[in-house]
């Protein structure tokens, strides 16, 4: 469970991005965060694993205050996997090493165990035949599936995805969304920033609508897409559909 209380994030005195956000992400549920660009979606999920340091407020993961300077971030980050818009694979490592690297460095697995696990995870995302390929030899969709395998190999409780398909063409988007859909409701908590309304509607338990640094709305897809509470959310939905 991730509990966010009165979270603020300012990048500078003039750039105040998150404004008093309080929210609780329940275990095992899938959340889709939607909203127009610049609304603070990325900033919010990057605060969860401390890629951005919150300015005020607290984030608590299973009773541990994530943004307490005394907290061991490695333990926190081990529980939270992240998938990025631009894949961010390690360019000098092949697919299996991309997955195995953190298993060896963070989980202190032996080389054999780490590579065996890497192969297993790559098979799970349909990349078992490309374990020796380097990132530059893979298509966008394939890269993103390797990135998902890399995050999952760490056996996180939570998977954060920041626009995982925004850099992909429609065909590749489908293959990546299929993998993400397969992961939802398997015990993993998923928090997915996305512009794919069909995916949000079909897979998410809750839709969070963010605008100007606040969560304006949290509803089930049924409610959100038919009668959203705020005018801005209704406007957003009608523009997207």
């Amino acid at each position: 469970m991730i509990k966010i209380e009165h979270l603020y994030k300012d990048y500078s005195k003039d750039i105040k991005v998150l404004k008093d956000i309080s929210f609780t992400f329940e275990d095992g549920k899938t959340y889709a965060i939607i909203g127009s660009s610049g609304g603070g979606k990325s900033t919010l999920i990057r605060c969860l694993n401390m890629l951005e340091v919150p300015s005020e407020g607290t984030i608590t993961l299973d009773g541990v205050v994530v943004n307490d300077p005394k907290t061991d971030l490695t333990r926190v980050r081990e529980k939270m996997g992240m998938v990025f818009q631009n894949f961010n694979l390690f360019a000098h490592m092949d697919a299996k090493k991309n997955v195995a690297y953190a298993l060896m460095k963070v989980k202190h697995m032996s080389k054999e165990d780490a590579y065996a696990k890497a192969k297993e995870m790559l098979e799970k995302v349909g990349m078992g035949h490309r374990t020796d390929s380097f990132p530059h030899q893979l298509s966008g969709g394939e890269k993103q599936r390797v990135a998902i395998a890399r995050a999952l190999a760490m056996e996180p409780e939570i998977l954060l995805c920041d626009e995982p398909t925004s850099a992909l063409d429609p065909e590749m988007t489908t293959e990546v969304l299929k993998v993400l859909k397969g992961l939802s409701h398997t015990g993993l908590t998923m928090i997915v920033v996305t512009h794919e309304m069909a995916f949000a509607k079909e897979v998410a338990d809750y839709i969070l609508y963010m605008d100007q640094g606040q969560i304006l709305e949290c509803s089930t897809p049924d409610v959100f897409f038919t009668h959203a509470k705020s005018e801005r959310a209704r406007q957003f939905v009608s523009n997207m559909l």
Partner: protein
């Protein structure tokens, strides 16, 4: 005068010793160039000293190295009486600084070229700062810079041929000596040409191997 194999064999060892001089000089200058280049890459953007670094780079990239050698070798002792005149020092310092000016750009690109996204991905996986610097940043920065370093080294072995103007005993200087003795330029020229060609064939072969080996883990 006819080409003489005998003369060629007789003088080849003496001239080729100059190749050793060139390799040694180029190695030292490349090393100075790397150190100066890295320092400049970091200092170029600093306030207060940045303009000095940029002026240095402009001077060494904007004038021929021949002029630079003359400028320092003849200019400095004239300006400042008692300034040392050891030709080796001048040759090393001028070529070292010249390389440094070129490598500053390469180094800066190598360091800035590291993809921030990969660093974030490693952080998000819980990888320690130490391992990120070692395995993600330096590992890739070195790979991206090494081929350029090697090219600079190859360029240096050719450019340094002008040190003969200072009287450093490289192949060109030895050429003058041999011609003065034998009155025949052709044999020493053949030796020098083949010497440089072989050296750079070997160097670029090593460079390519290195590049391929370093491209990926």
């Amino acid at each position: 005068m006819r080409f003489s194999i005998e003369r060629l064999v007789q003088w080849a060892p003496y001239i080729l010793e100059g190749l050793g001089v060139i390799i040694g000089l180029s190695l030292i200058c490349a090393l100075i160039g790397v150190i100066v280049g890295v320092l400049c890459a970091f200092l170029k953007k600093k306030k207060g000293i940045g303009w000095l670094i940029r002026a240095y780079i402009d001077f060494f990239r904007g004038t021929p190295v021949f002029f630079q050698l003359y400028f320092f070798y003849f200019g400095l002792p004239a300006l400042i009486p008692g300034f040392p005149t050891d030709r080796w020092i001048y040759a090393t310092v001028v070529f070292g600084l010249n390389s440094g000016a070129y490598l500053a750009e390469v180094m800066r690109a190598g360091i800035e070229g590291i993809d921030k996204g990969q660093i974030e991905a490693a952080k998000a996986l819980g990888v320690s700062q130490k391992d990120i610097i070692k395995d993600i940043i330096l590992n890739q920065a070195i790979r991206s810079v090494l081929p350029a370093l090697f090219n600079e080294f190859i360029a240096l072995t050719k450019e340094t041929s002008v040190v003969s103007v200072l009287g450093v005993n490289d192949m060109m200087k030895r050429y003058s000596f041999v011609v003065a003795k034998t009155y025949s330029p052709i044999e020493p020229l053949v030796v020098i040409g083949i010497g440089y060609l072989c050296l750079n064939k070997v160097l670029s072969f090593i460079g390519q191997r290195l590049e391929r080996k370093l491209a990926y883990d």
